[in-house]
Amino acid sequence: MIATAEIHRDDQASKLGMWLFLFTEMLLFGGLFIVYSVYRYRNADAFHLASEELSVLIGTINTIILLISSATIAMSVTAIRKKDKKVALMLLGATTILGIIFLVNKYFEWGEHITEHIYPGSSVLSLRGQGDVLFYGLYYFMTGLHALHIIIGLVFIGFVTVFISKDRINSGKFVMLENCGLYWHLVDMIWIFLFPLFYLIT
């Protein structure tokens, strides 16, 4: 309705807005990191034993996948700057595929635990003791919320891809792609914390 809102463009404001939004995302996970530290402190032994059951191999592969996907999306920003639309689209495609592979790995990882009847509320899990209940509760909740963020990120990338192919994002106007990259890096960064907390510290 206000024409000026369209004409008035402030890329720095958009990026500032995105950074502030990322703060809120960090605090959202921050609450969970507090819950994790409290229960890890209280159930050190159970957490130690339970985390050895997670597959470090899949975790490592997923970490590498996300790191590469962060690189590809960052490169696509450079490609757009250099007016190379085709390469930018290819790199975004690669990011999308890597994100999907991450989710597929996650699906198999979760699936394996669920076939062993290890999920919140299962009687097998509750027989194993409170430390295990809390560990797996945190595991499912935190990686689940993270996976939800991957899905949101993929949808975001999907929109950006369409906009690039329609030239609504171009070498003169690419702040949305940059913001999308920022969001994807955050998702990546949260995983960088989740990976050692669940898989490596034993």
Binding site: L20, G31, V35, Y39, V133
Partner: protein
């Protein structure tokens, strides 16, 4: 200047956009129209919450069952709390007056992200809808109180999921509004408006924005965990599964104490504007006012433990939280001193908004001092969960934010609507409102100190006298509020046309016509002097 511009540019009320009728409002990205959308939603919800409160006070007029069952009472105080906290006082001043006035007061055409602003209102309406759904579906309405304390919140048969999710969505709306304001203030101030030339209302919105942004996600995740607890038995707050209900309280108050500052900071900003305008004097100690707003926002993060003195914490934690609670009173006191000093030797114009500001300072001081009583460890043990807490809380939140909200409404009404209201009825309403307020909440201090607990629908006969007084106060307060709101609505038709600057204010909103044109300013204002430039 103002009379010439009216004919050139239609006001935001007359502007014809792409849509007609109600769609011209609910699809509008104009910050002024969005502010009005919030105003009408909030007034509706305020009336609902106040009616629930009135009925609860009627139940408490005599011991035993008067008009409702205990379970109904539980549902009433839960809904009253959810509505008043999450949908009225938290968005109250920022979303209504912040939206309408922040861009104008800093000389901008709109907020930084107008579409996101409208989206925030949609989130708000969605949240409210979810809360309403929780009342009429499932096995009965929620009955936990607005605090959703674990483990009861996932054991009760009440329909918690939509209520909890509604509060989550309302939080989203609050975060996005705060984010929008922060970026607006950083990027869109008029040329020449350096940080220390910004008026105090935008300054308090800036401090509020940070609190909204950095505190709300914590309750977001906490509410998601309660939902997960109910649906998945995840066990984080369930003692039978190894979880810790006290941890829930910590997470809840980590947000919900700073939330009190989301409510009170913009109220303080609005009061500063009103007192300066009607004293025709610059705000005394402007820099201290700015610093104390930021200090309140900052220290406010570290005092949440004072809600949990009796829940079980280490001695060190108790002392620390108590000390920090006393510290947060200092910047609030600085503000009160500076308001009084602003009036000193001013040429005071006794208008309705100024009376509201006086009422604010009075009830805010009572609320603040009773807060110190609760912040001391020993007295807290005696007063915890009694009517004393209820009285303190309502003096701050209803007395603070509520008085500032109505004060702001009377102060900016000519600017927003382009009409003047009937001063006589406004003052009669205020007098009833104030008398009823003291009558309703004053006796609660006494009742609480005598030991009457909160959230009970029944009480011992020794508390009868105080409760009769309190219930009668609620009738006076309710009729006062009704007169005020009816008067403001009636004046939309009958009020005389308002000039651009009816009160002689010095901030930017008074330099443009009433009601403001769509684009706010026809020429980009350039700021040269300090705000509140009276001489």
């Amino acid at each position: 200047m103002s009379t010439q511009t009216i004919s050139i540019e239609p006001s935001y009320l007359d502007h014809q956009g792409k849509y007609r009728g109600i769609f011209a409002w609910i699809f509008s990205t104009d910050h002024k129209r969005i502010g009005m959308l919030y105003l009408f939603s909030i007034l509706t919800l305020f009336a609902t919450g106040a009616t629930l409160g009135l009925l609860m006070k009627f139940e408490l007029i005599a011991p035993g069952k008067t008009i409702m069952e205990a379970q109904t009472y539980n549902a009433f105080f839960t809904l009253h709390g959810i509505i008043m906290i999450f949908t009225v006082v938290i968005p109250g001043l920022p979303a209504v007056f912040g939206n309408f006035l922040l861009p104008i007061m800093i000389g901008a055409k709109d907020v930084a992200f107008p579409k996101l602003n409208l989206l925030s209102w949609y989130f708000y309406v969605t949240g409210v809808t979810l809360v309403i759904i929780s009342q009429f579906t499932g096995q009965g309405p929620p009955d936990t109180g607005w605090t959703f304390y674990a483990p009861y919140s996932f054991r009760t048969a009440g329909n918690m999921l939509p209520a909890v999710f509604g509060a989550f969505v309302l939080g989203f709306s609050s975060v996005l509004t705060g984010l929008n304001f922060l970026v607006t203030i950083h990027r869109m101030r008029a040329p020449g408006m350096t940080w220390l030339k910004m008026p105090l209302f935008p300054w308090t919105l800036y401090a509020t924005g940070w609190v909204q942004l950095l505190a709300t996600p914590i309750i977001g995740i906490t509410l998601l965990l309660v939902a997960a607890e109910r649906v998945l038995n995840i066990g984080f707050f369930d003692p039978t599964l190894g979880g810790d209900p006290i941890l829930y309280q910590h997470l809840f108050w980590t947000y919900s104490h700073p939330a009190v500052y989301i409510m009170i900071l913009p109220a303080m900003g609005a009061i500063s504007e009103i007192i300066s305008t009607f004293s025709h004097k610059p705000v005394f100690g402007y820099k201290f006012m700015v610093a104390s707003a930021l200090a309140i926002a900052f220290v406010g993060y570290f005092v949440w433990g004072h809600h949990m003195f009796t829940s079980g914490m280490s001695g060190t934690a108790l002392y620390t939280f108590s000390l920090l609670t006393f510290l947060v009173a200092i910047p609030s006191a600085i503000k009160v001193f500076n308001w009084i000093a602003t009036m000193h030797k001013g040429s005071i114009d006794l208008q309705t908004p100024f009376y509201w500001a006086m009422g604010f300072v009075f009830v805010f001081m009572i609320g603040g001092f009773s807060g110190l009583v609760l912040g001391s460890l020993t007295t807290n043990v005696h007063l915890h969960n009694t009517h004393f807490v209820l009285a303190h809380f309502h003096f701050i939140v209803f007395g603070g934010t509520g008085f500032a909200f109505f004060g702001a409404m009377h102060y900016w009404y000519p600017k927003i609507t382009g009409r003047m209201y009937d001063t006589r009825w406004a003052n009669i309403g205020l007098l009833l409102f104030f008398t009823g307020f003291i009558g309703l909440y004053g006796p609660m201090f006494y009742l609480g100190a005598m030991g009457m607990p909160r959230r009970y629908f029944d009480y011992d006969a020794i508390f009868h006298g105080g409760n009769i007084l309190s219930s009668m106060g609620s009738w006076v307060l309710y009729s006062g509020a009704a007169i005020i709101i009816i008067n403001l609505f009636a004046s939309l038709k009958t009020g005389i046309k308002a000039p651009a600057n009816p009160w002689g204010g010095k901030t930017l909103e008074w330099t443009i016509p009433s009601p403001p044109p769509v684009e706010n300013f026809l020429e980009q204002p350039v700021i040269t002097g300090k705000p509140y430039d009276y001489k």
